[in-house]
């Protein structure tokens, strides 16, 4: 596969898309860990939801 004289533009475009999408996925994953950790800490300190369920209970 030859990318011709404009290979640097093509490679930069694909690399940028890959970097931004990976950052987006990592951000969502880190955010999930952060929220579940905070819920666990609240659960351990005895705070329960109005329904009586534990803070970490998701269903």
């Amino acid at each position: 596969m030859s990318l011709g004289p404009y290979a640097s533009f093509i490679v930069t475009a694909y690399a940028l898309v890959a970097i931004v999408l990976v950052l987006l996925i990592v951000w969502v994953a880190i955010d999930y860990r952060s929220q579940t950790r905070r819920l666990r800490e609240l659960d351990e300190s005895g705070v329960t939801r109005r329904s009586g369920r534990s803070a970490t209970e998701r269903s």
């Binding site: 990318l3 011709g4 475009a13 898309v17 999930y32 929220q35 998701r58």
Partner: protein, 248 residues
């Protein structure tokens, strides 16, 4: 609860939404990864265009990002109606979770378009109607994200953001039809147009596969981000309960 017995109304309940998405997300992520791999392979193997040469490969990532930049705002506009008209408990969650993802797709549409424009048009940027209206869309995404961060009370932020989102939706037809209404450097629609696509199948098929893969990627990230937002609001209400208990 089985998927069959879970109705759409049940999804209005955040707890049930969390339970359902926990089961759906791994499958959705796997299908997305599979389709992305096929799309990338087809993009790599696609022939050079007789005018654009190999730079046509940038189209396979530029067009899906551009399509999603508008689609995500469309999703947020429906969610905004859900907030203002039906007061659906997940509507604002859906809109808030979609905004950063939409901003990322819009940013990528602008950057990949510039990287295609430099070798093909001889310039990275031109203040024509299509490019300028997409830049405005990107700035509107950033403005909405700033609004959600600036207003501490989620319900107040939700209403203000919903109104802004619906006002911003005026930009969507402007983006779509800018190439028809004004004399722009950007080419007119070539995929979804009256009379059918003008693209050869060798380019159309990889483009459609990539567009579906990117749409599924958005759906996956959106559902995951919605789950995070529900958990964040649960943390906030529990922290307030804890503070009230300590104050009493």
């Amino acid at each position: 609860m089985s998927l069959k017995t879970m109705s759409l109304i049940d999804l209005a309940n955040p707890t049930k939404f969390l339970a359902l998405t926990a089961r759906v997300l791994p499958w959705l992520a796997a299908i997305t990864a599979f389709l992305l791999a096929i799309g990338l392979y087809q993009s790599a193997m696609a022939p050079d265009d007789y005018q654009q040469g190999a730079t046509v490969k940038i189209m396979f990532i530029h067009v899906p990002n551009a399509w999603l930049s508008m689609f995500v705002w469309g999703v947020m506009s429906v969610a905004a109606l859900g907030t203002l008209v039906w007061r659906h408990p997940l509507a604002d969650v859906a809109a808030k979770a979609a905004a950063p993802i939409g901003a990322a797709f819009t940013f990528l549409a602008l950057v990949t378009g510039s990287l295609w424009g430099r070798p093909m048009w001889g310039t990275y940027w031109e203040w024509d109607a299509r490019l300028t209206s997409v830049l405005i869309l990107f700035l509107m995404y950033l403005g909405l994200m700033a609004l959600w961060r600036a207003v501490e009370d989620p319900s107040r932020a939700a209403r203000a953001a919903a109104v802004l989102t619906l006002v911003g939706a005026i930009n969507l037809p402007i983006i779509k039809f800018s190439v028809d209404w004004w004399n722009t450097l950007h080419q007119p629609a070539s995929v979804f147009r009256i009379g059918g696509s003008t693209l050869d199948r060798a380019f159309l098929i990889p483009l459609l596969v990539m567009a579906i893969a990117f749409t599924l990627l958005f759906l996956t990230l959106h559902l995951a981000a919605m789950r995070n937002e529900i958990l964040r609001r649960r943390v906030r209400s529990l922290q307030m309960m804890q503070a009230n208990r300590q104050a009493a």
